[in-house]
């Protein structure tokens, strides 16, 4: 499967996120704070692509996708912006749906692979029961046929149908994650959100699981958002890549382009600091720490750590500017608005 090279038309968009802001609004014993975990993110995902979301811990990437699938509960709240899905022509704002319609969409059109394979399956229910709970009502077939269908699905993903009779704790971490992928895909949804699906897996297993994920995506031709902090995973699994820093999207483009020609200083640092086998070039790390999302610095949030920072960066937040086809960057230095800056 190769990534679509041409700029995709709006009509093919499955997900459209516009200027989304989601804050953790907490009040604890007199300390009231807004944690601006997602602060003005705009992105879209096209049909049949895997969109990668990268960023380091606490950059807001998990919050972003939680907000996208409306899996939020207080203190997290959407402050501004919209999330629109388009499943085969029926566009909808996920925050405008009532409970019943939302339940109708879930799993049938929009499914989810969660971080932390240990806990996503009900520990006291066998895997089979989870399949029944999650998918039975969408399939619309009597139980025996449904179970046969599930077994077929597992077989297609080269999983032993015997796992259906197991409890989650009886499976290895990799196997649990595979089961979760099968569970998320059994209804052949239009859109799958995968949050750190391979974190905490060993490298060998990680590769297998990623392969399975791509395999599933290829088979059912759904769109997918894949969130992970591991650039290596993105490089190998995603079509397009968005990089987040301190609650904002700072760079976005085709994965190969972003990794090979990062524009944003942060992205560049992230990519070039990674050692590779066979490469003994001295590499430098980045000093400092990401800012607190409760009290982010003014202007570009990266400026305190940025080697290129200038006066403007300290004052105002840079807008996302398209520097190449489908490649957008938010940086006063590398992508000043109104003109393509030199890479």
């Amino acid at each position: 499967m190769s990534a679509p090279l041409a700029k995709v038309a709006d009509a093919e968009r499955v997900l459209d996120v516009a200027n989304l802001r989601a804050y953790y609004q907490t009040w604890h014993f007199g300390v009231s704070r807004d944690v601006r975990a997602v602060d003005g993110v705009t992105l879209h995902v096209d049909r049949n692509e895997i969109y990668g979301l990268a960023g380091e811990s606490s950059c807001g990437k998990s919050t972003l996708i939680r907000t996208i699938v409306r899996a939020i509960r207080p203190p997290l709240a959407v402050v501004e912006g919209s999330v629109r899905f388009d499943f085969g022509g029926r566009a909808c704002d996920i925050y405008a749906l009532d409970r019943a319609r939302l339940a109708g969409i879930r799993w049938r059109h929009l499914s989810y692979i969660l971080q932390g394979s240990m806990n996503v399956l009900n520990p006291v229910r066998r895997v089979r029961e989870s399949f029944v709970d999650f998918a039975f009502r969408h399939i619309g077939k009597p139980m025996p046929q449904f179970l046969a269908l599930v077994e077929d699905h597992l077989a297609r993903l080269r999983l032993d149908p015997a796992v259906l009779g197991s409890f989650p704790h009886e499976l290895s971490g990799g196997m649990r994650q595979r089961v979760t992928i099968a569970l998320a895909s059994v209804c052949r949804p239009d859109f799958i959100v995968a949050d750190e699906p391979t974190t905490a897996l060993d490298v060998v297993v990680q590769k297998d699981v990623l392969a399975l994920l791509r395999e599933v995506q290829r088979q059912i031709r759904s769109s997918m958002i894949l969130v992970t902090h591991d650039i290596g995973v993105h490089a190998n699994a995603t079509d397009r890549l968005g990089v987040m820093y301190a609650g904002r999207l700072i760079e976005e483009g085709r994965t190969g382009e972003v990794i090979r020609e990062p524009r944003h200083p942060y992205t560049a640092q992230l990519v070039t600091s990674l050692p590779r086998i066979g490469d003994i070039e001295p590499k430098q790390g980045l000093d400092g720490a990401p800012p607190s999302l409760a009290a982010p610095p003014p202007g570009c949030r990266f400026h305190p750590r940025c080697p290129l920072a200038m006066e403007m960066c300290r004052r105002e937040h840079p807008p996302m500017v398209e520097v190449a086809a489908g490649h957008r960057v938010a940086c006063w230095v590398k992508a000043p608005p109104g003109g393509m800056a030199a890479p």
């Binding site: 499967m1 990534a3 895997i50 380091e56 811990s57 060993d202 490298v203 060998v204 990680q206 590769k207 297998d208 990623l210 392969a211 399975l212 791509r214 902090h229 591991d230 650039i231 290596g232 995973v233 993105h234 490089a235 190998n236 699994a237 995603t238 079509d239 085709r254 994965t255 190969g256 382009e257 972003v258 990794i259 090979r260 942060y266 640092q269 992230l270 990519v271 600091s273 990674l274 050692p275 590779r276 086998i277 066979g278 490469d279 003994i280 001295p282 590499k283 430098q284 790390g285 980045l286 000093d287 400092g288 720490a289 990401p290």
Partner: protein, 274 residues
């Protein structure tokens, strides 16, 4: 040349369960490794979870006792170090670095407390010496006491904390540092500064480092020697660059093949290993 650390055919067997249903887990099996004194080096021990590398680290640090074989530090059987005095002496020379910098300090206590404590207890510093020692150690890792004094862990970044932890380990001028996955919980952008620090510790302070990791890339980047472990056994070892550039053992090859490199970006052609 005498050995700094001599791991001689060490094995570790855990027994779980009760008398009636023993389950024997062979965490480490017949493993040998020798670090020479006077030739500081970084030895990477590579393996995935369950390969026994953390158990090995615990045995070197005398937090666990091997069931077979002997670990000698400068000729002394580590497992026989029992008295408080001997333990303190051992800790002066061998220090650990832990995996999670956020966990390595008590969140309710100030970070400098541990530096001062080490200075007093392990380096026998008194009065102004204590501050001086702490400050010197912090400078060795690119920090200063002024930055750190009175700060709580949550006020510092993971990178700073990990450096502080390393500085603390350095206070007693140890000969050996055992670092168990020291960068796996550190953000990628901060990771290299820590890794580079290890290199400078070896080169400038002549500290030998046992670097335990599952990350082949950083191992390749800084270590002199590697030892690849699988299910408690050493499957391959040798000079780092040689082994990692051209692994011989099937498991080593599999490991190497599984590494997802950013190089592949734009060609998402990932395939399962099996």
């Amino acid at each position: 040349m005498s050995a700094l650390l001599d791991i001689d055919r060490v094995g570790m067997t855990y027994v779980s369960g009760t008398l009636l249903a023993r389950r024997v887990v062979r965490a480490v099996d017949d493993l040998s490794l020798r670090l020479e004194a006077g030739r500081p080096e970084i030895v990477a021990i590579i393996g995935e979870s369950g390969s026994g590398k953390t158990t090995l680290a615990r045995m070197i640090l005398n937090l666990a006792t091997p069931t077979d074989g002997v670990i000698r530090f400068r000729g002394t059987d580590v497992a026989k170090i029992r008295s408080n005095h001997a333990r303190a002496d051992f800790m002066r020379q061998v220090q650990p670095i832990f995996q999670n910098p956020f966990e390595a300090f008590n969140p309710l206590k100030r970070v400098d407390r541990y530096l001062f404590m080490s200075a007093r207890r392990l380096a026998d510093a008194r009065g102004a010496e204590v501050d001086a020692l702490a400050d010197r150690a912090l400078h060795q890792v690119g920090l200063s006491l002024a930055e750190l004094r009175g700060r709580f862990p949550h006020e510092l970044s993971g990178g700073q904390l990990q450096r502080a932890a390393i500085a603390r380990a350095l206070i007693s001028a140890p000969k050996l540092i055992v670092a168990d996955e020291p960068v796996s919980m550190v953000d990628a952008s901060l990771r290299m500064s820590i890794v580079n620090l290890f290199r400078s510790l070896r080169d400038e302070l002549h500290v030998s480092i046992v670097y335990i990791t599952h990350d082949l890339a950083t191992a390749y980047y800084i270590s002199d020697r590697v030892l690849i472990m699988q299910r408690g056994r050493a499957v391959e070892s040798g000079a780092a660059r040689e082994v990692l550039a051209n692994p011989q053992h099937p498991y080593s090859r599999l490991l190497k093949a599984s590494v997802l490199s950013p190089e592949d970006a734009g060609k998402p052609t990932i395939a399962a290993n099996t």
